[in-house]
Structure formats: C-alpha cells, structure tokens
C-alpha cells in the first residue's frame, strides 16, 4: 500500500486530513457549482458578483453563515436540538473514511468497506428525527417523521442493489470490487441494480423527486426549519458530502472507479481524473434531476420503494444467484438484468398512468360532496 508519509502515525493523520480538510473545501466549491448549474438549467446566470463568475460565492456564504446568530427556539429540547446536528454530520464523515478515491488515496482500505459505508451512512437519520423532534416545530416534526418513513423505504432497495454487486465481485471490499472492473464495469452486468441504486440514492440524498422530508413548498425545510447560522450550514455540508459520497460509491460500484477503461494499474493522476470525471457525472446528474422533476408524495415514495424497487432488487439477486450457481456465461447476466430493468421501467411508466400503486386517492377525496 502506498504511504503518504513514512511514519505510520503521520500517514494516518494525513489520510484523515484528506477527509477533514478536502471535504469541507469541496463542499464550498460544490455549493457554487450547484448554484451555477441550476442557474444555467433555469436560464439564469447563477452567482456572478462575488469574484470572477461568482467563484467566491461559497466563501462569502460560509462567512455569512458562521457569523450569523445561532438562534434556538425557547421551547426547543436543548440537548436534542443541539446534538442533532452532530448526529447528522459525524456519520457522513465516518462514511467518507471507507471510500477509496483512487488505489492510493483513501483513509482505510477495509475488507468490509461496502458494508461499513451502508451501515454508517444510514445513521444520519437519527439526527434528522432528533432535529424534527427537538425543534418543537410542527413542520420540523412532520419532516422528521417523513425522513424516518423515507429511510425504511429506500434503504432496503439501496442495500440490496449494493449486495447484488457484492455477489458479482464476491467481495465487500470496495478496493477489490473496483480492481475487478478493469475491463468491464459492473453496470454492463447489473443495469437493473444500477437503476435501483440511483433511484434509492436520490432518496438517500433527499433530492427531487424524493425531497419529501425537506419539501420547501410543504414543510418549509422540514427538520432544518428552526436551525440557523453554523448549525444550518452543517446540515447543508452533510447534504453535499453525502452527495459526493453517493456519487463516488456509484462510480466505484458500477462504473469501475479508477480502473475502467484504462485497466487496473494506470498512473495516479489518471486515476484521479477518472474518479473526478465519473463522480462529477453523477453529481451533475443529481443536480439535473433536482431541477427537472416534481416531488412524490410520501405514500407514493413508500409504494415505489416497497412495491416496485424491492421486488426488482430481489429479482436482480435471484438472477445473480442463478448465473453464479450454474456458472452461466456473463453475457446472460447482461441480458437478464437488462430485460428486468426494461420491465421495471415499463412498470413505472404504466403505474404512473393507471390508478393503482402510485396513483391512488384516499377515500374521502372521492366523496368530496359529502363534506359540506
């Protein structure tokens, strides 16, 4: 393993510095990128005034947020309210520890990296529920409850689609999984798992169409509604760090991370370029989704996750199992998984147009006339 420094302790410190320093700086840049991209997609210029092309906007925002008064509602449950922020931020950084960004640049190369990542990244929900409860605000409470309901729905398809990849690579180490994809990325074998992972990943990031817990037009920011200044910016930071991490994980699991298409042992600068390109592709995709699609209702999200994504995630695992047990050639995997992905797309397309899973009305709205 490549050492960043000769001394083991110094090496460990430097590796941690990657996460502790680079990530917040990246977040500041990413806020600028997001505002710029969204601005362009909406026929605006985005930030233009702070620095050239508004490049320093992120720094200006950071200064503003840090110097802002930290307001806490009088009736808030103080320990819950104040701790919630850390419960959200810490797991995100813990998850960052397990992600190898190139074959050399990572904090720890864990044998159970994928397992650890998925386990830790779902811890943040506790913070959201704490924030929702501790704020003593009904919007926050609604948002916190929604966040909980959303987590139990998307987490299982997300994990199952990652499990499908782990089955294929016969490993839970992200490093090994990436090295296996030096000639063909797993997306070629697992299109269905990829689609499920991206949809569930959007839900994990609370981005449209799954920004239900923080829905601006309904619960006005949900759990974050009572937070201001530095506490609010920590919510924001954790959101952007998760955005990077989920994008990085998607490119590691499905697009071959730093290996494909240049093989397993290319130069470090090329690896960095590959990872940056693949990760930013996902980040841009998530930003694009954010401004294009409307929001689902919470029960529709649950129906989508439990009734469509979950069965298809199991289908992917069954397909993988069959192919691996009977030792069929790998192209059968592509065909079976691809067919299943098309089937899922068709189901989604039909379901949105027909009354049934996603489009159902509560009994009362049918009897509108009886109310008055």
């Amino acid at each position: 393993m490549f050492l960043l420094a000769d001394n083991v302790w110094l090496d460990a410190l430097l590796r941690m510095a990657i996460v502790a320093v680079l990530v917040p700086v990246g977040v500041i840049l990413l806020t600028w990128v997001e505002r710029k991209v969204i601005g362009r997609l909406q026929q605006r210029l985005g930030p233009m005034h702070v620095g050239p092309y508004g490049l320093l906007q992120g720094i200006a925002d950071t200064i503003k947020l840090i110097t802002k008064e930290d307001v806490r509602p009088d009736s808030a449950d103080r320990p819950t309210f104040e701790l919630a922020v850390f419960v959200i931020v810490v797991p995100v950084f813990m998850a960052a520890v397990a992600v190898p960004f190139t074959s050399d640049i990572f904090v720890r190369n864990m044998a159970l990296g994928l397992f650890y990542f998925l386990a830790v990244s779902s811890l943040g929900i506790v913070g959201f529920v704490m924030a929702g409860w501790g704020s003593d605000n009904k919007y926050a409470l609604l948002g916190g409850v929604r966040a909980g309901a959303q987590l139990i729905s998307y987490e299982i398809p997300l994990i199952l689609s990652a499990v499908a990849v782990a089955m294929l690579g016969q490993s839970l180490s992200l490093y090994t999984l990436v090295q296996l994809q030096d000639d063909t990325p797993f997306i070629a074998y697992q299109p269905l798992a990829f689609v499920i992972f991206i949809i569930a990943g959007l839900a994990e990031l609370y981005r449209q169409p799954f920004d239900i817990p923080v829905a601006e037009s309904e619960v006005v920011g949900g759990p974050t509604v009572e937070y201001s200044g530095i506490r609010w910016s920590m919510f924001q930071m954790s959101e952007f760090v998760s955005l990077v991490l989920i994008s990085a994980l998607a490119s590691l699991l499905f697009l071959g991370g730093w290996t494909w298409p240049f093989g397993a042992d290319n130069a470090t600068w090329l690896q960095v370029c590959l990872m940056v390109a693949k990760t930013s592709a996902f980040i841009l995709f998530f930003m694009w989704m954010r401004v294009t699609v409307p929001r689902l209702r919470i029960d529709q999200l649950m129906a989508l996750c439990w009734q469509i994504l979950l069965p298809f995630a199991f289908l992917q695992i069954i397909i993988n199992g069959l192919v691996l047990v009977y030792d069929w050639p790998s192209w059968t995997l592509t065909i079976l998984s691809g067919a299943a992905a098309i089937a899922m797309g068709t189901v989604l397309h039909q379901v949105a147009r027909r009354s049934g899973v996603l489009y159902q009305t509560t009994g009362a709205s049918q009897r509108v006339g009886s109310v008055l």
Partner: protein
Amino acid sequence: MATIDYTIPGEPDLETLDIHVNVGPQHPATHGVFRMVLTIDGELVTDLDPVIGYMHRGNEKLPENCDYRQVIGYHDRTDYLAQFNTEHCYVEAVEKLTGIKPTERSEYIRVILAELNRITSHLMFIGAFSSDVGIFGTAFMYAFRDREFVQDFFEEITGERMMFNYFRPGGVAWDVPDDFRERCTQVIDRINSGLKDLEGMIVDNEIVLARCRGLSRVSTEDAINWGLSGPLLRATGLEYDLRKAEPYSIYDRFEFDIPTGKDGDVYDRVIMRLEEMKQSVRIVEQALADMPDGPIMAEGMKRTLRVPEGEVYMRVEGPRGEYGVYLVGTGTDKPYRHKVRAASFCNLSALRAMSIGNYVSDVIVILGSIDIVLGEVDR
C-alpha cells in the same frame, strides 16, 4: 370528516392526537398572505380552516369616494395578475350604465390586451403550481421568461409594469405604439414556443400524473353548487365560458374553443390553463388581423363623467373565473355602491371540501390548482 380505524385486533386502544398546523400567512405555498389551519392526523388532513383578510385594503369601499375614472386604478389592484381583465370588466360596467359606445379600434385593443393578460396570468399559475408540486423553480423560470416578454410589451403600451390604468370608459387612454402589430406577433411567437417547453415539462410527466390525476375530483353539480367558475368549473366538463355564454365586448366575432376536462381533478385544471392559453393566442391572432384604424376614444366624452341613476352588474371571464362588478350610480361623478365579485374568493371557498381527507402534500397542490390571488380574495 375522515376517520381511520387504528385499532388492531387484540391490542389495547391507543389514543391518537390530531395536531393543528398553521400554514401561512408566511408560507411559500400559500401564494401571498393566505392562511389555513390544518388539523392533521399523521399526514392526513382531517379538517381545514381557511383564514383570509390579511390583505384587506378596502378596495370596494375606497372607490365610492373616487371619480369614476379614478376607480380603474383600484381594479388593477384587486386581481393584480389580470389587470386588463379587471379593468375591462369595470369599464364595460360603466359603459353599460351610461350607454357610452366605445370605438371599434379601442374594443380590439382591449380584447387583445385582455387575452394577453389571461396568458400572463396562466403562465404565472403554471409557474407557481409547478413549484407547489415540487419542481425546483425550473418551470417557474421558464414561465416567467415568457411572462416577462409579454410584461415588457404591456409596459411599452401603458408605461406601467403592473398597475396599467389604461382602459377608460369609451375607449383607451392613448393609442398603441406604431409597431404594435409587429411586437404583438413577436409576443405570440414567443408564447407559442414557450408553451411547448412548459408542456414538455408538465403534461406527460409521470410524477405530475401520479400526483395530480384523480386528486380532489369535483363533479359538475358540486362545482355549480359551490359557485366555482373559470378553469375549475370547465375542468369538471361543463362548457361554460362567459365569452361564449354571454358575449360581451366583441367576443362574438372571434372563433375559439372552450377547453373542457372530464374528471374535474387537479390535473384537468392544469391542462385547462395550458389549453386556454392556446385559445387566447387564437383570439389575439384574429383580433390583430381585423383591427381597424380610427379614433380610440368615443366622441363627446366630458371631462367629468357623470353616471345616471341606476344599477348594473357586469361580469367578464377573467383568468380565474367570473369577475364581476356591481355599480350603483346616482347621477353624480362617484359610484354610490361598488362591489366586486371575485372569482378566486368563490373558488377558494371550496378549498375545505376539496382538501379534507387528502394528504398534507396534496392540500398544497389543491390550493395551488385553485390559483388564488390574495388581492382579489381580500380586496
């Protein structure tokens, strides 16, 4: 009231608590200063109490102390998204009462501007509605891009961006600029191309379909009983449009269709607006082709407009529905009584019935689909 039986067989009864949530008057989805007190049972809305009046400015009483021409400005401020339509209604009411006949040219100018104003109002609706349903500002910006274009056109004609104060009893305040036709054609082209973008974003979007279809279905019978008008009424399938049912001004000269829905649900209401914009474009095109030259103010108009004794109720088809003005004249230069029938006030009264039993997210969408303008509701 919707009630759900939560008891599980064999389990002791758990007591559940409904909570009240104040939505508004400062809430991004209430389109101004509307407030609703929701009683929610989890995510389900079991009761809704609309609270209005935060923007009451006395827009009905104040004009009773004003000269008949000064009142026009107050109508700009009732429905501040459809100023030409409201002005049109008031001006027609005064003309009906006094018997003034507006000139041909001014009639055409009025119709063109009123129809373009209907389009800007519906563009505003599409933008605000798409934000309610969760599109992060994109459809909003697209709608506003085109709306700004039309708004600039209005500014060129009237010199004002919002409070136009342009129509007068007997005609319009001054003639339109020389390049009116060219600019109007540009505006129409812009609207046509912009409509395609908006339709692509909304009409066949799976999530919009899943969210809006079948939501808060209203039957034609209910809609009539509740006094709904405009797109909400037509979405239920009734072909009722004052421009056809009771042609005022020169609307009987134009060929246009009345789009109707069939379910009366939120989705149909959105489609109504998109279709109406196309019909308005048709009317504007025909009016542009026929527009004659000539005077823009009726002959023999005096400096002070004295209205004979009598009363009149004039109604027009505004973007939100039937906008009506009731005037009582006493032979002086001021109206004795001035009353406005606001479409969104009447439409809003059905909100409670439409919302109860739906989810919190849906109530926001239903409110958005009614397309309220608080200036008109509170007056």
